[in-house]
């Protein structure tokens, strides 16, 4: 696959899946997204260090089948009383297969009232999204979801 010129993920999926990936000569092509579970683990370790990450407390809300990978609504919510003694310090979101493992880091604090952040993210391919929350006692909690991303039926020239 890599030996082909202009090899793009769109072409690979179009042939492999028989999907109707009609394509004009792409003027802007997407670099092949590398599967990066190792990069994901490294990015997580960057934030978490050697501490244990426990599943729980974090709710990651992303549509399981996205309409378009360019703009995927995402809401992360962490169960926490958000008092001055017990609050969420930060939330870190990672992905598995984009060219880069980080999505965003969000820094909260006791003044937030509710540990919930919404944004819109890009997903290059069907993959896992992971959210890790750091609490005020420096414990780490996580949640992950598997998202299915289909490509648009017809690619098009840029304007």
């Amino acid at each position: 696959m890599r030996k082909q010129r202009n090899s793009t993920r769109r072409q690979f999926l179009g042939l492999a899946g028989g999907a109707a990936a009609l394509s004009a000569v792409p003027i802007v092509t997407v670099r092949p997204a590398d599967a990066t579970p190792a990069m994901l683990a490294a990015a997580i370790r960057n934030v978490v260090g050697e501490a244990a990450v426990r599943p729980g407390k974090v709710k990651l809300d992303v549509p399981p089948l996205v309409e378009n990978g360019n703009t995927v609504p995402m809401t992360v919510n962490v169960l926490s009383p958000m008092t001055s003694e017990d609050y969420v310090k930060s939330i870190h979101v990672f992905n598995e297969k984009n060219p880069q493992p980080n999505v965003g880091n969000f820094y909260l604090g006791p003044r937030a009232g509710r540990a919930q952040v919404s944004t819109r993210i890009r997903l290059a391919d069907s993959q896992k999204v992971v959210a890790i929350a750091r609490l005020s006692d420096d414990s780490f909690w996580s949640a992950s979801v598997d998202i299915v991303v289909t490509l648009a039926a017809c690619t098009e020239e840029v304007i």
């Binding site: 028989g18 549509p63 309409e67 360019n70 289909t150 017809c154 098009e156 304007i159």
Partner: protein
């Protein structure tokens, strides 16, 4: 590589029965007409519903600034003649494309804005799909939000609506598909992962997630034509305006929802 892909697609479409369907398409009965909004997932609909989350509103904001800025040899702003856009432009976009007496043919909203700029503001026309033209179009179109589409009602437009209909039905491109083959005959199905809509332009100019930008109906139609491997008409071509006119008249009575969000 490309050839193999075309064959794969053709095989898929033959399987879907599109390629062998007859030339005459079944027009959608009035009662079954559905806006593109209806075909979206609730998450995407939510992006459109909230004016502070809808990225199309960023262009409307820009349009508001442009509306008030004086320009050209005449040193006039849109507001100088049309006053506040909210009042002056209500219902306008729902009537476009409209017949222009001087040109003797329909013009769309973008062309109307440019005609105003050249004739009344004595300044240059804005390029198609430029940020400024999209901003002004978005501002005007937003003022028709909720209004029923009236375009095409003018009897002078009849021959142009007919031409547009003919273009809509005509098979074109390497894949030999007409607009009607998908948007009249197969709107209740999917093309790969995407829902096939009925093709009603109720929300233009709209923020398309695939573009990550606001864009016009002409941009969308050109993309479809490229998609069936046909040579797309140039921006502003009479064929595109006639198609726009036909599509809007086909959607008569449906409420506008510009600036919409679509996948």
């Amino acid at each position: 590589m490309r050839f193999a892909r075309v064959i794969a697609v053709a095989a898929l479409l033959i399987g879907a029965g599109i390629a062998v369907s007859s030339l005459s398409a079944n027009e959608i009965p009035q009662g079954e007409r559905r806006s593109g909004y209806d075909f979206m997932t609730p998450d995407t609909q939510a992006i459109q519903n909230d004016d502070t989350a809808n990225p199309g509103m960023l262009w409307v904001l820009d349009g508001e600034a442009l509306w008030k800025s004086k320009t050209g040899a005449a040193g006039r702003s849109c507001a100088d003649c049309h006053e506040d856009a909210r009042a002056g432009m209500k219902g306008v976009a729902a009537r476009y494309p409209a017949f222009d007496k001087t040109l003797g043919r329909p013009v769309n909203l973008e062309q109307r804005i440019n005609l105003c700029r050249v004739q009344h503001q004595q300044t240059t026309a804005l390029a198609y799909e430029s940020r400024d033209l999209l901003a002004l179009t978005a501002l005007v179109a937003q003022q028709s939000r909720g209004d029923a589409i009236e375009a095409g009602a003018d009897p002078q437009l009849e021959p142009f609506v007919a031409k547009g209909r003919e273009l809509f039905m005509r098979r074109q491109g390497q894949l030999n598909l007409g607009c009607a083959n998908c948007h009249d005959d197969n709107w209740d199905k999917r093309l790969a992962g995407s829902a096939i809509t009925q093709g009603h332009p109720t929300g233009y100019p709209l923020y398309r997630l695939e573009w990550q930008s606001l864009g016009s109906l002409q941009r969308r139609m050109r993309a479809c034509m490229t998609g069936v491997r046909a040579q797309a008409y140039d921006y502003g071509a009479p064929e595109l305006v006639e198609l726009e006119l036909y599509l809007m008249s086909r959607a008569q009575g449906m409420p506008m929802d510009s600036p919409a969000v679509r996948p």
